[in-house]
Symmetry: C2
Subunit: 541 residues, 2 copies
């Protein structure tokens, strides 16, 4: 195969984890990986989309000095590159002040070529048309005598986009640099897409993704190379940084396995939580441990992300906390070797009730008293965070966030909402998965078996209020992720009353979600940048 002759027989996919805005740090990392690649004898090393500035830079792109500094960083970087060709993403600008999502081709100390992304995604979590102008150039570059069709992320997703013109123009190989956000099963979607493109173009395809977390987005790596016959030649591991050296003439390149669904999601949650903390200067985390399954799962994720010695669990029992959940919290902490502190909230709660006595008069206790307890817990956790510099992890799941079964400024208080995009039924799956990978199950069985309860009043269970989680999650998947109408969901066989109640709750709780901390996106539609519903909204189907 002509395409793979010469030095280009050996190339390196540099699946790095940049940090948004860290121009110096990202450049240093690019140099480090380039040096490693050169040592392996690779003729070309390829970095992800916007690797110089991190993805997505969002409104940093509106700062002219940011764009200028990123170009400066690229130029400084370029001057240090010898003996290897380097492709990396950066932000380019033109004399009219337009900016482009761009790829630079660097060789012998110079930026030799620049490609501007043609297709700008402006849906889901993406706002690229807010910032970038669409590119016009061909993306045809020649490296060591090999003609390459170079394109960026969305360029390969849009049918008939620039990759096709590049194939028509004589490209011998396609290279796509991406920063492609994760959701469950995304790697499989990408492989299917890329193999369709290979079939269309009959060209080998190099796909370089980044790894790591940025606020709510996780980049799951899985960079890969497909041969012209569609065969998978090489694949980097998911979620981790990796320098994937590929010999295009060999059939013995590294092919990292694809993780099982639960393991993949679990790893996404660990990665997102760890990166949010570390990139924002936190080394220690804390969380409220109730003895329920949500906080148990978050405790496992925290211990896996930071090491149990860096995690403090806080049990904050109230008069409504059962002996059983308190014991379970202790057992879990012991199993995880995580410090557990008990801070009962009874006395503070009584002092609130005394203080509010004249206000509440003879009105029956209701949601107000329940929320006071949740907010005392939030206050205690935040006070510990303020005193000791811990990142507080919240423990609410997606089912709760969807229907507003959570207390604003109470259990929603914290820096990162680890499982806010994980449905309750999936929480159980992940808890069982986590138990399956350690010698002894760390999460006590009783946590997995007990009926979920917020324990904010006597004998409360979630499912009395919300209906069965099994059914609730099905309704939510259709309504939230599928944008289905209540009528269509009912027609699909779900209980009408349950559907109507759930939809009403989702609609009326937008104000709570708007004030939630960020958390890991693991579904195609998380309650983040991909969910932009108005708070003021009288629409009823």
């Amino acid at each position: 195969m002509q395409a793979t002759e010469g030095l280009l027989l050996k190339l390196s996919l540099a699946q790095i984890n940049p940090t948004v805005g860290d121009l110096g740090g990202n450049s240093a990392k690019i140099l480090e990986y380039a040096a490693l690649a050169a040592k392996t004898g690779a003729g070309l090393v390829v970095f992800p989309e916007l690797a110089v500035c991190g993805y997505p830079p969002e409104d940093l792109l509106l700062k002219k000095h940011f764009v200028a500094d990123n170009i400066k960083a690229l130029d400084v970087l370029a001057r240090k590159i010898r003996g290897i060709t380097l492709i990396t993403g950066f932000v380019d600008s033109d004399s009219a002040g337009k900016i482009y999502n761009a790829a630079a081709v660097i060789r012998e100390g110079k930026v030799q070529d620049v490609y501007h992304k043609h297709e700008l995604p402006n849906y889901g979590v993406f706002d690229e048309k807010r910032y970038f102008s669409a590119g016009q150039n061909s993306g045809i570059i020649t490296v060591e005598g090999v003609v390459i069709g170079l394109n960026i992320c969305e360029d390969i997703w849009v049918d008939g986009a620039v990759y096709r013109a590049q194939a028509g123009a004589g490209a011998q190989i396609l290279i796509n640099i991406s920063s492609s956000p994760y959701h469950s099963g995304k790697l499989k979607e990408r492989e299917e897409l890329l193999s369709r493109r290979v079939k269309e173009t009959r060209l080998p395809l190099v796909y370089v993704n980044c790894a790591g977390g940025q606020d709510e987005l996780i980049f799951d790596g899985g960079s890969m190379v497909l041969a012209a016959d569609g065969q998978l030649l090489a694949r980097a591991p998911q979620f981790e940084e990796n320098l994937l050296g590929v010999d295009l003439s060999s059939s013995k390149n590294p092919v990292a396995p694809v993780l099982d669904s639960s393991e993949e999601i679990y790893k996404a949650l660990v990665t997102g939580t760890r990166d949010y903390a570390l990139k924002n200067g936190f080394k220690k985390a804390a969380l409220g441990l109730s003895g329920g399954v949500d906080s148990a799962l978050v405790a496992c994720i925290a211990c896996d992300a930071f090491g149990p010695e860096n995690v403090t669990a806080i049990a904050m029992p109230s008069p409504f906390s059962s002996r059983a959940t308190r014991q379970d919290a202790r057992a879990l902490a012991k199993n995880l070797k995580m410090e557990l502190r008990e801070i009962p909230i009874k006395k503070v709660f009584s002092s609130y009730l005394k203080t509010m006595h004249r206000q509440f008069e003879d009105l029956a206790p209701n949601i107000a008293e329940e929320n006071i307890q949740a907010r005392i817990r939030g206050n205690i956790l935040m006070a510990l965070s303020n005193k000791f510099g811990w990142l507080i992890l919240t423990t609410g799941n997606k089912s709760e966030m969807a229907v507003g079964y959570c207390t604003l400024y109470g259990d929603m208080s914290g820096g990162y909402a680890v499982i806010k995009d994980v449905f309750k039924t999936k929480v159980y799956e992940l808890a069982r998965f986590r138990n399956s990978i350690s010698r002894h199950p760390v999460i006590p069985k009783s946590i997995l078996l007990r009926a979920p309860s917020a324990e904010l009043r006597l004998n409360q269970t979630d499912e009395e209020t919300l209906g069965s989680y099994e059914e609730l999650d099905k309704i939510l998947m259709a309504y939230v992720e599928g944008h289905a109408s209540p009528g269509d969901i009912i027609a699909s066989g779900m209980d009408e009353k349950h559907v109507r109640q759930t939809v009403r709750l989702v609609d009326m709780n937008e104000y709570k979600r708007r004030q939630a901390p960020p958390g890991v996106k693991i579904t195609p539609c998380a309650f983040g940048k991909d969910w932009r519903l108005p708070i003021t909204n009288r629409y009823k189907e």
Copy 2:
């Protein structure tokens, strides 16, 4: 003037206040205004952009049933229209599933013409490319023999856009329907723009805007008609609903005055607060009253929005609250005829300190203890909200929000952040303005004269921590609204240390702003949809 002959001599600009998603309510309002317009003998009545579904519908547009229901609502509406031509905004869709920001021309019970917006704004608060396809049709329609160039909002803002082609194609008059969000001075910007378009095209121009609030956006009305010679023929009042009847042959049409800057902003704040409450089902509001200028201003706005009988002020003194601020809070409440309740937080605070004693050990009191107090207040306000159904108004200003001089889950707790887009220096201006319009000043002078303090520890003043507000606000205006670099701000003559500190604080407090409640946008760049900075961000100039 030919353009204005026939029935079109008389037309009505229906400056209504739709509610997002309220298809039935908006349609009923359109019918009501159309009937009123017909009674005045108008041949044409014109409604704002997306009046049928409200603006901006955001991700409701991703629901196929929402788009279908809005088209149904338009058809039902159309069947009821006789004896007048009606133009209104709605969402159109085509057989390929594309949707358009559209204007329908309705006559004799039928939709006779549809125009699709060409220019889709995708900057600032706008995300129209996320949803809509760009229109291709001409917008040339004929009503009663008059050739009209019909276009929508952004179509008139972009130089050389469709309005020019319409003029070239023989239009005798231009009609632009808008839902144009307010910021301070926007009406003047619009008038200047429209008068440039009239000069370019030599055509009279009818501009219809909506009124009222939608989450963070305020629509300030000010619909207007310019004659072909550039003269302002008619203008509707700002912020209010209005049916502006215009006789194009007369020089005696209503021309509402343009409000002074302070009055305009004050009215925007009242309108936004009232509409957020009413459209979300709240009739009563409450706020924490500290005796400082921020909460004093918010109390005035709340009383003007809801009537003082529907506002409850809560004073929550701590051991650090001075006698003077407590007296001022009482005087203000008395002046406003607003109920004031005092709920001291000392006992609850001591119970927290006791509960946290073993945790905090012998560490010196710091921000943790300060924040506990702010969060006790937040908990008390939210408990009252939960018990009595009051909307809690927060009282933080833009200077504080910018530098994070506020407590997450503390003073940031509430449903609506009335002055979150008002700089501290502007807060004083507005307070003085409010004092100037009532017979006796309602805000005690001492509130305006005392050095601002959070009163969370002894002898604290804001300016010790933040530097002078006068200078701080100048730095913030340049950095936040101007996206200027710290270097440029320093070069403009500001103190380097103050600039660096301020920029650092703005950057590191993104996580707080992300969890703030919504509030009225009054500047070109509010901390809302127009401010999309990453939380994880290591960029330093």
